[in-house]
């Protein structure tokens, strides 16, 4: 893996850690989502190159998490296209019940290739840490149980909770639970990882450990989209920072770009949180 310079959407150049081509692994176009009268996402475009770490920042309610959830279709957008590794998973694929069934089948494919870590961990409480990691491997990826156990142990070791294989989530701290959740998400070796405010529910002293795991993962060249309020982490780890407000991408660029943001809204946000 080496660094690589790729043209960004806005015509500027950006450095990525990709060893592959600059073609986007993910391309979102015209993503719209409304809940009743409330427009949560207003025609959002975003593309992510392979190996790139994109960090999304912005005020609460700006649509960051909704956009992230649209990528693996936990939230189905009202309009727009979601092209992941060359295949469109957008809602325009659904025309009738037959295409809906095909769409749902393709969703399983997409989700097998996109890992996600949630704010509240969402570990399965009736399964041990090891079983949590094994479940996706055996039931979604068809890995044999013995091999799944080996992979699960390996992944738990990597995130520093290898000794917790047989522990139930309730017996783990928040930080340990989130590490297990990371192990669960990366075990099937996805091409893209989504982090939805992965440290927001943690006690302050546990945040650093989880951020360290995310840093380690970023350093391996994993393509990542991270929604976070941890600004230091965002500017340190990101190849590109995307600032969202009011359901739209206001500004994006490499972290250095945000030392002198172009939009008033971005300046106001960064100033309010004491970054600029």
């Amino acid at each position: 893996m080496g660094t690589k310079i790729c043209p960004s959407e806005q015509g500027t150049l950006q450095v990525t850690r990709s060893s592959g081509a600059c073609s986007p692994i993910l391309k979102l176009e015209g993503i719209k989502k409304s809940y009743g009268q409330l427009d949560v996402l207003k025609n959002v475009d975003l593309s992510v190159n392979e190996g790139e770490v994109v960090v999304m920042i912005g005020p609460s309610g700006s649509g960051k998490s909704t956009l992230l959830r649209c990528i693996n279709l936990l939230t189905v957008p009202d309009a727009g296209s979601i092209v992941f590794r060359g295949k469109d998973y957008g809602p325009n694929q659904i025309k009738d019940w037959r295409s809906r069934r095909a769409f749902e089948r393709s969703l399983v494919q997409l989700r097998c290739d996109v890992g996600m870590v949630f704010q509240h961990f969402n570990l399965f409480p009736h399964m041990t840490a090891g079983e949590n990691v094994m479940l996706g491997l055996t039931r979604a990826h068809g890995v044999h149980a013995r091999e799944a156990r080996r992979i699960a142990q390996e992944q738990l070791d990597q995130v520093g909770v290898g000794d917790k294989f047989s522990a139930y989530p309730r017996n783990l701290s928040g930080g340990q639970q989130q590490r297990v959740a990371i192990a669960r998400a990366i075990a099937p070796k996805p091409h893209l990882m989504l982090f939805d405010e992965a440290t927001s529910a943690l006690d302050p002293e546990l945040v650093a450990g989880v951020l360290a795991e995310m840093r380690r993962l970023a350093a391996t060249g994993m393509t990542m989209i991270v929604v976070t309020h941890e600004m230091r982490f965002a500017f340190e780890v990101a190849d590109r920072v995307v600032f969202m407000a009011d359901g739209a991408v206001v500004e994006q660029g490499p972290p250095a770009h945000f030392k002198n943001p172009q939009h008033e809204r971005t300046r106001a946000f960064l100033s309010a949180i004491g970054v600029a």
């Binding site: 949630f118 039931r139 990826h141 309730r170 669960r184």
Partner: protein, 227 residues
């Protein structure tokens, strides 16, 4: 007038065997009704939670209607009504089991729904996000968590059906209550026989509650442990 009732508990000893045979029939009837309830209750619950509004409305209507019809009326419709109107004659045991099954299904549907809806939405999302199909997510993630929550109310439904089975004697099912009535007509000892039947039902209910507690503890692995 100073009429005092003379208890004659020896009548129970004398008729213990037919009473127990009647009890076994009653338990068989309840078990068959419960099996129907467990299966059809789940189908009704899934329909009640369906994304399709007409299916939801239909299931909701069926549940509400069935729950509002007294068991004895349902029993009479099935046993006498179907035979008189449609020529569908069935044995008393069959009619009783179906009546219990229909009533139990409506109650079990709500029990299942309560359990399934109590599983946090984040659990379904995590299962979906890892690429599990809906069926696999239901089987491996949702159902095991819901199962723990439905054990106690399921025992309640079973007890309700067991008590409901006591009216089956009205259509001629030779259960424990039927035997008690027949014997008391000859021996004039209704208090003794019905009290015995009541005590037997209390013991069965307590045993069921204890079994439910054991199942609940077994299913709550992980969820009930503290750090």
């Amino acid at each position: 007038m100073n009429a005092t009732y003379q208890f004659n508990w020896s009548v129970i000893d004398a008729h213990m065997w037919p009473m127990l045979v009647g009890l076994v029939l009653m338990i068989r009837l309840t078990i068959v009704g419960m099996v129907i309830s467990l299966a059809f209750g789940l189908i009704l619950a899934l329909m009640r939670m369906s994304a399709a509004r007409p299916v939801r409305v239909l299931a909701s209507g069926v549940i509400d209607v069935v729950r509002s019809v007294p068991l004895i009326i349902l029993l009479f419709w099935l046993y006498y009504g179907l035979a008189a109107q449609l020529g569908i004659a069935m044995q008393a045991f069959t009619a009783g089991a179906i009546a219990l099954g229909i009533t139990g299904s409506a109650y079990m549907a709500e029990v299942y729904r309560g359990g399934l809806e109590a599983v946090e939405s984040g659990q379904r999302e995590a299962a979906a996000a890892m690429g599990l199909t809906r069926a696999v997510a239901f089987q491996t993630v949702v159902l095991p968590q819901a199962a723990r929550l439905v054990v106690a109310p399921t025992i309640n439904v079973f007890v309700m059906l067991l008590k409901g089975a006591t009216i089956m004697s009205t259509i001629g099912v030779a259960d424990m209550i039927f035997v008690a009535r027949q014997v008391s007509l000859r021996t004039f000892t209704p208090f003794e026989l019905y009290t015995f039947a009541g005590l037997v039902l209390i013991v069965i209910t307590l045993i069921l509650a204890a079994i439910g507690g054991v199942i609940e503890r077994r299913l709550s692995k992980g969820a009930g442990r503290h750090a």
